[in-house]
Amino acid sequence: MQFLKLIWRGALRHKLRTGLTVTGLVVAILSFGLLQTIVDAWYAGANAAAPNRLVTRNAVSLVFPMPINYREKIRAVPGVQAVAAANWFGGTYRDTTMRNFFPQFAVDAVSYFAMYPEYRIDPDAFHAFLRDRKGVVVGRKLADTHGFRVGDPIPLKGTIFPGDWEFTVRAIYDPGESTTDTSAMFFHFDYLNETLKRRSPRRADRVGVFVVAIDDVSRAAEVSHAIDELFRNSTAETLTETERAFQIGFAKQTEAIVVAIRLVSFVVIAIILAVMANTMAMTARERTAEYATLKAIGFQPAYVAGLILGESLAIACIGAALGIALTFPIGEWFSAQMGTLFPVFEVSQGTVALQVVCALIVGLAAAALPMRRAAKVRIVDGLRAIG
């Protein structure tokens, strides 16, 4: 008890110093948690990928489409359960700011939504969507961000597919899992295709990607290869990969940013480690005579070292607890400010665990040298020290 008393009261002895150190820790741990969560959000698409879904695209580039007749050929490949066409639409809602950006896809509605059971839609609403050529399904996060309700119009200005496009919300999908992206809008591929046939016939009957459901995940590589072999030496050769690999491919395009964010998050920890080390060094130096007195009375050097370590860990734990607690509400606020830029922005258990580990490392490392010095200093030298 005396040991804990000395630690706790020692930590509160210089309230301003301890308060500022704790504040620094809170900021560092909070920043670390938010930066790690941004990195997680970057790979959210990959994390939400299903192992039984493949994506087939033009082997040259995602920018180039494929003929729609590939759909039935792919459907016939052994191991393929279903195929759905999907096109990135890329329209503008209201303006071009990030706040009003959200992903829009033209899809083969029936087959596509059958492949994504994690999109939870009310059956009646889904049927209403199927009956309306211009109907759309929007995600819950998207609906909340812009206040969309069933029946609301969504006018879009096309960029890849120029012109004015009018849609009506017929259903809202909710997430089946915590990693499910609910920031997207889906409409009928047939509506896009028929409109293109009128406005720009040469662009009709073209598909951006095919999403392929397979019945045996262990045969993913084999089925992917079989699909690509079908179209070897054609005008539009294909590249088929798992949905996860496809999503990671996007993330890899901006990997340098992710690496930089990760690096910054650890630099923040390194900075607070230096601050804490300075705090503990000053504290231990001021108390040299006290530690020497304790050793003279008969306390072992390990006891004195333990006081320093205990105080350092106590400060680190307080800073970590506050920093972790703040990560959640500030993460939510940050996500709201970003709109649908990060469809899934969730502080994971892994991130919290990392925050705890970093705080412990800071507490341990900051105390290491002062502990050693206090334990090793000769009693007679310590008693002569002026704090």
Binding site: Q2, L6, E290, I297, G298, P301, V380
Partner: protein
Amino acid sequence: MTPPLVSVRNVWKSYRRGGQIVAVLNDISLDVQRGDFVGLMGPSGSGKTTLLNLIAGIDKPDRGEVLVDGVDITQLGETELADWRAGAVGFIFQFYNLMPVLTAFENVELPLVLTSLSKRERREHVEAALALVDLADRMEHYPSELSGGQQQRVAIARAIVADPTLIVADEPTGDLDRHSAEEVLELMERLNSELGKTILMVTHDRRAAVRAHAIRYLEKGELARGEDLSEQSVKEARRS
């Protein structure tokens, strides 16, 4: 003839200062009998605090023996020495060296934390020690709330609470005004005369030294001469 409580035999001690070896004690031999109150005097740098530290077990000689109550403490390792000090030595420092974050009670209790006494037993010992130094009503006060003299009395209580074999005091009145110094010295006299505590005290102050039964003088690391104090010489010193 009973053996001395403290027996220092042919002790040498030197320190390294900026690359030079400085001899502090040269072939010192000294005996202190059980129940004695001995003052160590001498000019600055004479080695009196060094000798005190060697006897208290917080430093080791380069050569020679230091026996306290039959234990050759020069042969003990650091861990054993710490354990030995916990039971054998009570310290009184010039600047009290109390833990500022602990109350008077908790400061006095510190040596007992190293024993196997129960919480209740520790409380009894601490209360008795604080009553002895007449600070029973200040036990919940922190050092910053006590005067210099009161802090030194708390330090004395801490020094005696574990009933050590030997009490060592390094300039115990060095930081006190005259009145507080007198109080502290009277208390030390009582510890010696009424409780039979063996006390070894380093001091520059003649008024403090005459409280002792005997004074040993150190000059340039050697014991120059001893002085057993008669009642008359004590009275004369106190009048001055």
